[in-house]
């Protein structure tokens, strides 16, 4: 009986650790007032590296702006997503890194502000190991519809406003090239109530087994 309780306790504790490994979320806010009214474009892409890459997923959530999105069919390339991307802005976009090029591009007339969340999850973040390449998310803004003239970034060579690297150890690294862009980690690592219940059950069963063990020894 004692062994069963120990095993049950360990299993529950294991689930509890797993429950902590939620997505990594960034809150992104861009002050676009300096280019308000400009008919430009936005680009999001999330791609793996060239060696062995672990599976990872990314979502663009809660996209909000007082600017105007161009319908995908009407943008300069005639469509928005390329590769493993689903959804349409301002709704949720879901990317994975299953192909080499996963991109969402759309025309956009800038207003004074732009905000969205970037949520990263999947084995590369929750159970990293065995990979030799990471994955990279990049967000860019352009002052032309063709997406060739970067704006609101100091990285005029690459045009990225910011990038998020998924590292081999499951951590992420943000590089922000835009003084107008704020990229802040969202407070998503607080354990959910369900997790606390699991931890409590594990501890209770573990402690409860101690008197029983003494009885058996007698």
């Amino acid at each position: 009986m004692f062994q069963y309780k120990v095993v049950l306790c360990l299993l529950l504790c294991g689930f509890a650790v797993k429950a902590f490994a939620g997505p990594i979320v960034y809150d992104v806010t861009v002050n676009t007032s300096s280019i308000s009214g400009t008919a430009g474009s936005l680009d999001f892409n999330f791609n793996p590296g060239p060696l062995v890459t672990q599976s990872a997923d990314l979502q663009i959530l809660s996209f909000a702006s007082n600017g105007t999105l161009v319908s995908c069919a009407a943008n300069i390339q005639g469509f928005c997503p390329t590769g493993d991307v689903s959804g349409t802005l301002p709704g949720t976009l879901t990317f994975d890194n299953g192909t080499g090029f996963n991109d969402y591009f759309d025309g956009f007339t800038f207003g004074s502000t732009l905000s969205f969340q970037v949520s990263l999850y999947g084995p590369a973040l929750s159970s990293p190991g065995g990979a030799t390449s990471g994955s990279t998310f990049a967000f860019s803004m352009f002052s032309n519809a063709a997406g060739t003239v970067p704006t609101l970034t100091s990285d005029t060579t690459d045009g990225f406003a910011f990038t998020v690297n998924v590292n081999l150890d499951g951590t992420t690294t943000v590089t922000n090239f835009s003084t107008e862009t704020s990229v802040l980690a969202s407070g998503s690592s607080v354990p959910e109530p369900g997790t606390l219940v699991l931890v409590g059950m594990g501890i209770t069963i573990g402690l409860g087994s101690l008197p029983l063990r003494r009885c058996v020894r007698r």
Partner: protein
């Protein structure tokens, strides 16, 4: 208790299975495919198979290119573990590369395979290649592909029985034959690289028996190339990369390659990273130059790497067809002088 009958039945069944598959220890296909390239001449290609005898492919079941002992110009390309659902009749094709030869071997798997038949029959293909070398460095690349009988390309395939893991296709194995002349003796340096894995187990100078020093020295002069560099092994340096972000301004895929000294000694630079076996149609936009037919980048401003120390170099790829970019990073110390 009499166990003779069950054992006899098992042996009979095993023999029947092997015979029905056409598998035996003798070559399944012996063919001669001469091919002459700029720096290397392929004299013969012989395809055979090797049966697994109780996990005998362990501890290293990975495809590889191995030397044939005592035969300086003969290599054996060993394929992945396969099963009864795979045909022993391989399709092979040779092509010249800028500084060597590329052999493509295509395996055909039954489209009806559901992962639960004849799991006790495991074998792997062996391709013996006899070459003649005409330059200081030759790169031999073997690519293993798998297709179903329907013609569909297979990217990931089960191996019929444990302990062999599933296999990603295509598999490219590269061997660099580098003939060096240090003023007194000749030698051959070889190494094997598999995509996604560290370069390891180099044979180094003397790994192949050098039967004729003068002949090796002659190769050096024929090639007219002085190689002042040394390939680092997986026990010396580990290479990793970032993801590749698409840059709409330059229309390139941008990322970084990081090398880390995983040995216990400081390694003196300069460091060159050769992007071996880069995906066809993809070019390196910021390459320093080429070596062995492949682009390389020089790691800037790093004169040495202490144990545990890393250095990072940016890489940019032109990829007009948006293909998945793959390459094998080979790290050298020294300089390439052409």
């Amino acid at each position: 208790m009499n166990t003779t009958v069950p054992i006899r039945k098992l042996v009979t069944i095993a023999i029947a299975i092997v015979c029905s598959l056409g598998l035996s220890a003798t070559p399944a296909k012996a063919q001669e495919t001469p091919k002459t390239c700029a720096g290397v001449e392929v004299r013969t290609v012989h395809v055979s198979i090797e049966l697994d005898r109780g996990d005998s492919f362990l501890p290293d079941p990975s495809p590889k290119i191995a030397e044939v002992p005592g035969k300086i110009e003969t290599l054996t390309a060993i394929g992945p573990p396969l099963g009864s659902m795979d045909s022993s009749q391989l399709q092979t094709a040779l092509a010249c590369t800028q500084k060597g030869i590329a052999l493509t071997a295509t395996i055909t798997r039954s489209a009806n395979f559901q992962g639960a038949v004849l799991q006790n029959v495991v074998w792997r293909p062996r391709i013996q290649i006899e070459v003649g070398l005409h330059q200081a460095e030759v790169i031999v690349a073997t690519t293993w592909r798998m297709r179903l009988t329907t013609g569909a390309e297979v990217n990931q395939a089960e191996t019929p029985a444990a302990p062999y893991p599933d296999q990603q296709y295509p598999i490219t194995v590269t061997k660099i034959l580098s003939f060096k002349y240090n003023g007194t003796v000749g030698g051959i340096s070889t190494t094997v690289a598999i995509p996604g894995q560290a370069v390891d187990h180099p044979n180094g100078v003397g790994g192949i028996a050098v039967t004729n020093v003068n002949k090796t020295t002659t190769y050096e002069y024929l090639g007219g190339t002085l190689i002042g560099s040394t390939l680092l092994t997986g026990s010396q340096v580990a290479a990793t990369t970032s993801g590749l972000a698409y840059n709409r301004v330059t229309q390139t895929f941008d990322g970084t390659v990081t090398i880390t000294n995983v040995s216990s000694s400081t390694i003196a630079g300069p460091f060159q990273i050769v992007l071996n076996s880069l995906t066809s149609g993809v070019t390196v936009a910021n390459a320093t130059s080429t070596f062995g037919g492949w682009s390389y980048v020089t790691v800037p401003t790093v004169s040495s790497l202490a144990p545990g120390q890393s250095a990072t170099v940016p890489v940019q790829f032109k990829n007009p067809s948006n293909a998945t970019i793959r390459f094998i990073p080979l790290t050298y110390v020294g300089s390439f002088v052409n």
